[in-house]
């Protein structure tokens, strides 16, 4: 075991991919300087600025460049600094990258990776804090992963770079610097496989990204009250490992889905809709969703804290599915 961080693993994975495959290149704003979070630090020194390409603030064009490069044999890893600015690149990502393979009758392939990071919690206010994964999960042709810990971000980023399709890797800014212990030789993490983070037979909690940690905290609290929660991290949104969730719900008969994104129209709705269809007869309670309220992310610290879903919300939702009043809240 060794100690690392989510961010260090991203960096190390990029080093490894670039050493292993000369077709891999990194494109984005300030990437040669490491970017605001140092995710790409040191790469330019080893691989040069031909392969680590700083760009102007031109999100649309640089996404197009990555698509064209991918179609012509490279393996670009594009960074969009904040997911909030993916709005500027969506035409390219959705109308070109996601559809090229299908529209060309299979002739074109777009093996590109779009790395970006989302989420609030740093007082970044409404334009630097969004969680927009459900938009991307609605787009056929894209794969979408959302790792919640260091080994997963390493494994999934590496799988994404190897994938022949456009893959969006959504990182979490609040997880970047947390210390984690990881195995020296971690197993590969294939795209499309969920992970059972904690086993339990009383209620299933499906959580995304930062909410996985919150779900575990809630599970601890529930355990202290004699309730065993099973926590599942889908890790990949598209393609979704629904079977892992359904299998769990068949045992627990209760489901909570938790993410930081606005609940309304969030990916939790898709999970809930599919699980109620696939496990209708096994559900003993309505599926509870945990997500942000229907409002832009507020700046003021206590308001942001109130706005953000956390372990308390997961705990209350789990208790609700169990039909027992939450002790002490």
């Amino acid at each position: 075991m060794r100690e690392t961080t989510y961010l260090k693993e991203i960096n190390a994975t990029l080093f490894e991919a670039m050493r292993g495959d000369p077709r891999v290149l990194v494109i984005g704003e300030d990437v040669a300087e490491g970017g605001p979070y140092t995710a790409t630090a040191g790469l330019a020194e080893e691989f040069g600025t031909d392969r680590i390409r700083n760009t102007p603030i031109s999100e649309a064009a640089i996404c197009g460049v990555a698509i064209g490069a991918a179609q012509s044999g490279l393996r670009p890893v594009l960074e969009i600094m904040f997911i909030d600015f993916i709005t500027l690149a969506l035409d390219q990502l959705v109308n070109a990258a996601a559809k090229a393979h299908s529209m060309s009758g299979g002739q074109l392939r777009v093996p590109m990776v779009l790395r970006t990071q989302g989420g609030a919690g740093q007082r970044g206010a409404a334009q630097h804090s969004q969680s927009l994964e459900s938009w991307l999960a609605h787009v056929p042709g894209l794969k979408v992963v959302m790792p919640s810990r260091a080994v997963d971000v390493a494994g999934l980023l590496s799988s994404a770079i190897a994938d022949p399709n456009p893959v969006v890797v959504i990182e979490s800014k609040t997880l970047y610097f947390r210390r984690e212990r990881v195995p020296d030789e971690p197993e590969p993490v294939p795209i499309g496989r969920a992970r059972t983070v904690r086993e339990g037979g009383d209620v299933t909690i499906v959580a995304l990204s930062r909410l996985v940690g919150e779900a575990l905290a809630a599970a601890d609290r529930l355990a202290a009250e004699g309730i065993e929660a099973e926590v599942i991290d889908p890790r990949t949104l598209v393609p979704l490992d629904l079977e892992a969730v359904v299998e769990s719900v068949r045992r627990t008969n209760r489901l909570v889905v938790a993410h930081e994104a606005v609940a309304h129209g969030g990916f939790g709705a898709e999970i809930a809709a599919r699980v109620q269809a696939a496990a209708f007869d096994h559900l003993d309670a309505p599926i509870e969703r945990v997500g942000a309220p229907f409002a832009p992310v507020p700046f003021s610290p206590p308001l942001e804290d109130a706005y953000l879903p956390g372990s308390e919300d997961v705990y209350v939702a789990a208790r609700t599915t169990l039909g027992r009043p939450a002790a002490g809240s």
């Binding site: 460049v65 064209g68 179609q71 070109a96 009758g105 056929p140 022949p164 399709n165």
Partner: protein, 336 residues
Amino acid sequence: MSGRRQPPAGPAAELDDGQALALLATMRRIRLFEERVAQLKRADEVHGLIHLSIGQEAVAAGVCAQLRGDDPVYSGHRAHGHAIAKGAPLERVMAELMGRVDGLCSGLGGSMHLVDTEHGLLGATGVVGGNVPIALGSALAARLGDSDRVAVVFFGDGAVQAGHFNESVNLATLWGLSLILVCENNGFAEFTPRSAHTNIERVSDVVAPYDLTRETVDGNDVLAVREAFGHLLAAARAGRGPMLLECLTHRVRGHYEGDPARYREALAEEDWRERDPILRLERHGVAAGWFDGDAVAAVERDAGEAVSEAVRFARQSPFPPAELIAELVYADRGRG
């Protein structure tokens, strides 16, 4: 015509008689193909939004004649001519417009999404200007792969006002990539004239601040297009950075087939005969002794037969199986 130009890296290849005839043949094939497409659209045999390039054939022919098979070409919504000039088989283009399984894209793309990787046509798009940055990415791949391939992207004058166009020109010059931007300036975007979109009449003036070789030519003169593009291509091939060729041309039909074309001042028939790039080359080539009237007639006959054959081929091609929809979403699934 106008435009600042760096010293060309080399002259365009000399035009010999055979090449002149080949240019004529390409334009005639495009013309007859599209005239037939117009009929088939009225008969509901080809589908969707069909934008014809009748009147603009000299650009596709003059540019593509000098490209290598491995030079990547990108186009927009008005793509038939570019596909044909780059070598896409007529019958597979026709089958695509009819939505058949033998179409270039197995019937999944249609008129605005022609792709023929075998002949280096890497994409057409229905998003105005959307392929400009993608072509740039292809030029980047050529650069990093130490190849002297030159990427070419065709687009209309309407695309120049889209933000991604300027972003791409800036990046292309910043990185010095071998991309040739070919603008077909037909003076219109859908139903509105260029003057409703910008105060800048010439596209080559829009890119003036960038250190970019640029030239504006009469886009209805295939020889002028060929020559100007030849210079740019030689320079781009030698790694002298991005270039822009603006071809002033004229859209003869409506924006799309079936539109009422109520916006465009129709040219008088005799004016159009003066400008028609095909008739011009015919007159010029016969006068110059490059070919004679019989050869011209043979070109027209051959093109007509090829188009008829394409229609026959396309009609007998089956529609694609519905399973294809799911199989082609991801490259690691099904036959994709």
